[in-house]
């Protein structure tokens, strides 16, 4: 989902996409490192539909491209809160659910969530959480939540996502405050907590936080579950823990922009991705949580036993909602605390 070569990808997306003039094509705008090339090739081979695949590396990049009117995409892949904004701003077309028979494969707990309560605009693609990874060879004490991670004993041994909203939401969770209603008073309460935490962190990295853990430069981290799943596949010493105070669950979805032109191709692609045997390929390449119940039956027992992909216990999970302009307040807070060091 997050690429270590974010800049290269950003540059690549600047190149004008080459598009054929005739029909039988699909303009897909998705996360980098999230849709396996084998899946796209398989779709083209079966249907003859050419897929023009462009990638983005943050929801904000997707949003700014869509509101700027660029791209002319037929299918996009926002996360939950970005999809919510897009629905509110009428940037997405309502789906004709009759054209998506494979929706029946999805597990009910991943549909009709707060970002799209009626399930009329979005189809879940993959889901995941943000949780704690512990190198159990180095950290012997039990780690259950954020407070255990940010303990003075782990000073300069911690990697966390380089994402201001994530960082602040962990502090809000720890204080028992809501993560989706950002007020000045709550930010003021979170401030001293984040200030202490920032001093303990060795690396902030959203693109490839697993690298610092694998390299042995840090022993503990708070990362995307997909990164944690890869670490666990690499070495079973990396344990994944859902923070007891509450954690962020994200659901990345497929949606059709309101101005899409290749509608039947878009429906065909969504249906194709929802097939269990295709969905399994995605799980194999990017081990996030697969919302496709039929596909899960085809996963190996080792894939299902991966605690990062399919966590069994831990705190309450909550998705992010759009917080509008408060994002800038959070960014200022974290910038201030980081530069105070």
């Amino acid at each position: 989902m997050k690429t270590p070569l974010r800049l290269l990808v950003a540059l690549a997306t600047l190149l004008p996409a080459v598009r054929a003039a005739a029909g039988g094509e699909l303009n897909l705008f998705g996360w980098s490192e999230y849709v396996p090339q084998a899946v796209i090739d398989g779709f083209t081979k079966e249907t003859g539909i050419k897929v023009n695949f462009e990638t983005f590396s943050s929801n904000e990049e997707l949003l700014s491209k869509l509101v700027a009117g660029g791209g002319n995409y037929d299918l996009v892949q926002p996360s939950d809160y970005a999809a919510e904004v897009m629905i509110r701003q009428k940037l997405l077309a309502p789906l004709d659910l009759k054209k998506l028979p494979n929706l029946k494969n999805l597990a009910p707990e991943f549909t009709r969530l707060p970002h799209d309560p009626a399930g009329r605009f979005t189809v879940p693609y993959m889901s995941g959480t943000v949780g704690i990874v512990v190198n159990t060879e180095r950290v012997r004490t039990p780690v259950k939540g954020y407070r255990d991670v940010f303990s003075p004993a782990h000073k300069d041994r911690i990697v966390v996502l380089n994402d201001s909203r994530e960082l602040v939401s962990w502090a809000l969770n720890t204080l028992g405050l809501p993560v989706n209603t950002i007020t000045a008073a709550n930010l003021a309460k979170a401030r001293p907590v984040v200030a202490e935490w920032v001093k303990l962190v060795k690396v902030f990295d959203s693109d490839s936080p697993k690298t610092a853990l694998l390299n042995g430069d840090v022993d503990i981290g708070i990362v995307w579950s997909g990164e944690a799943a890869i670490l666990w596949n690499e070495n079973k010493k990396f344990h994944y823990v859902i923070p007891a105070e509450g954690a962020h669950q994200f659901i990345d979805v497929l949606a059709i922009p309101a101005n899409a032109t290749h509608l039947s191709e878009a429906y065909a692609f969504i249906n194709y991705l929802l097939r269990p045997e295709v969905s399994v390929l995605i799980s194999g390449a990017f081990p996030y949580t697969n919302p496709n119940a039929a596909a899960r039956k085809l996963l190996t027992s080792e894939q299902l036993a991966n605690p990062a992909s399919y966590p069994s216990a831990g705190g309450r999970l909550e998705t992010f909602r759009d917080i509008g302009k408060a994002a800038a307040d959070i960014d200022r807070l974290v910038t201030d605390l980081k530069s105070a060091k």
Partner: protein
Amino acid sequence: MSVLPETSPTPAGDRRTPGWRAWLLLAPMVVWLLAFVVAPTCILLVYSFCQRDELGRVEFVFTLENYARVLDPVYLRIFGRSVGYAALTAVICAVVGFPVAYCIGRAGEAWRQRLLLLVMVPFWTSFLIRTYAWITILKQEGLLNGAVQALALPLGPFDLLYTPAAVVLGLVYAYLPFMILPIYGSVEKIDGALIEAAHDLGAGPWRVFSSVIIPLTLPGLAAGTLLVFVPAIGMFAVTDLLGGAKVPLIGNVIQNQFMQARDWPFGAALGMVFLLLFAFSYAVLLRFRNRGEEVV
């Protein structure tokens, strides 16, 4: 111009009045500058006085709030730190780069070409990939600590990766060639007779260096400093990759406004202030350079 006799136009006079052919040759450059420098700068300027809506779209409502926010101590401190890092980088590049450039410039013809090639070889690989290579070298179980251990040196292990030292190292590494090449250009032009003359007149090595070589290479030194200092202020990839994104520099802050914070007008205002800073440092260095050329 009409005062000058027709038969002996000065070269300077020619240079001041380019004909239409010269403009034609310049046209691609002018179009390029207009399209990719002037136009974007104008867009930035307009955005920097605008507001943003909830989605992060730019609303064309006039405000000075973005510039007021630039003066917030948080961002001023980051500006100050960025200038500090860039200045340190420029100084280290000058100290390390000068002897290298001098040796290349005074070497024989065949060696000079080979050595220059060595300076330029790194450009054949993507800058980002070379920076990733530094992670492999500096990490705790990396090449540097491995070598120290293998040689059984009484040092280390060094904990360099994700520290300010790693950021400065990365910046120096990235920009060193931009210091060496202009200094080399100046060194190559030095007339050896001047140095001999200085020696004959009884100047010691230090006196020759400070009174003859330095003034003669000042234009190259100034150009190199500019080429290192200015881009180093805005660099954000090195801070993220080698510094662990712990201490934000101004490049990181601006990048954040366009991505995470979805606040383009504020990012534009930071960019404009940044541009003024560039223009200012350029003006200062240009004065140094002119002084250097007067000496020549």
